[in-house]
Amino acid sequence: MAKILVVDDDPDFVRITRTILQSKDYEVVTAANGEQALATMRKEKPDLVLLDIMMSYILDGLDVGREMAEDAELKGIPVIMVTSLTGARAQAALPSDEYIPVEDWIHKPIDPDDLLARIEGALG
């Protein structure tokens, strides 16, 4: 079964997400901040990353996404951003090097069925 890396500094969220994912037999590894996430990715080679944005600092998750996009070893790993950031709105795409490419974007609190469906979609 696919291995999923859950990156979040909220232990409660990690615990709940782990339970949801393990109910579908996904293997789960975790990290609590961006630095740990990159180290775990290089070691564990996950099939997908669930990535929170605000962790040690606000852009922590985005910096991880940026670093993944620039790293040949990591840039193929699909990323789903999971965040409680508010006031986010979809816009027409405009070229900018600030954009971090991700597979999907989910708002907290998450719906377990929705999360599993999106993971399946991202894993293809």
Binding site: I53, M54, S56, Y57, I58, L59, D60, L62, D63, G65, M81, S84, L85, T86, G87, A88, R89, A90, Q91, A92, A93, L94, S96, E98, Y99, I100, P101, V102, E103, D104, W105
Partner: protein, 241 residues
């Protein structure tokens, strides 16, 4: 900041950053709602000019309000600790002073009062002024708690000298807390650069652009914020030459 979804090509742009939780905001406003009556009734009891208001039935009423507000004021941090201990510990960690605070103190007068927009050291979720406010509140809370309990229940029980010291310490803590409250009130309500602080304490969020400018260490992380600060300082220094 923006995130692009690969399949659709659409972009999610983040405009608002959560800064304070609901409980943090509730605690802030309850703290205000208990501190203001405490300060007003305390001043009535403290200032000779207002002594007529502290006499007779009115005086008893003032003392009653002071004591009820004091109990609520004292309980608020305990409620916070019991309901969200992890969040409280995280906030205390964010309130710790570091070397950036020295640079902020050096530049704050010119920046906030004279409009000198020189490079200010990057700040975390709480800037140095907010940390100082927090420190005064914590110390005053502890001082009010100890001295207030002795003044309330200790008359005739503790030695008179100790009782007088408690009264003096209570008065000094009140002066410090009221002064800090007035500075905080001016910065939060009256200062043009700080309006966003009031917005975030009302709605819980702050704009991404405000967070990037005023809380760079919280926004960009310590390493990148420091690099950006050094670059700005260098550019300003070169422009001056």
């Amino acid at each position: 900041m923006s995130v692009q979804l690969k399949d659709t090509g659409s972009v999610v742009q983040i405009r608002w950053i959560p800064k304070y939780t609901l409980l943090e905001r509730a605690m802030h406003w309850l703290h205000t709602a208990t501190f203001v009556p405490l300060a007003l009734t305390g001043l009535i009891l403290y200032l000779p000019l207002l002594q007529p208001l502290a006499q007779g039935a009115a005086g008893q009423f003032v003392r009653l309000i002071h004591r009820v507000a004091a109990v609520l004021f004292g309980l608020l941090p305990v409620i916070y600790l019991l309901t969200q201990p992890r969040r409280l510990l995280l906030s205390i960690r964010e309130f710790m002073f570091d070397k950036e605070d020295i640079g902020w103190l050096k530049g704050a007068f010119g920046y906030y009062l004279l409009g000198k927009h020189t490079a200010m050291p990057p700040q975390g979720r709480f800037n140095t002024g907010e940390k100082m406010n927090g420190l005064v509140i914590i110390l005053a809370w502890a001082a009010f708690g100890v001295t207030g309990l002795v003044m309330w229940f200790g008359r005739g029980i503790v030695p008179p000298t100790l009782f007088r010291w408690m009264v003096l310490l209570h008065d000094l803590a009140m002066i410090a807390a009221v002064c800090m409250f007035l500075i905080h009130l001016y910065l939060a309500v009256g200062h043009p650069l700080m309006w966003a602080g009031l917005v975030s304490m009302r709605f819980g969020v702050t704009s991404a652009s405000y967070a990037a400018e005023h809380h760079a260490k919280w926004y960009y992380g310590p390493k990148r914020a420091r690099q950006m600060y050094e670059a700005r300082k260098k550019a300003a220094s070169e422009a001056d030459q």
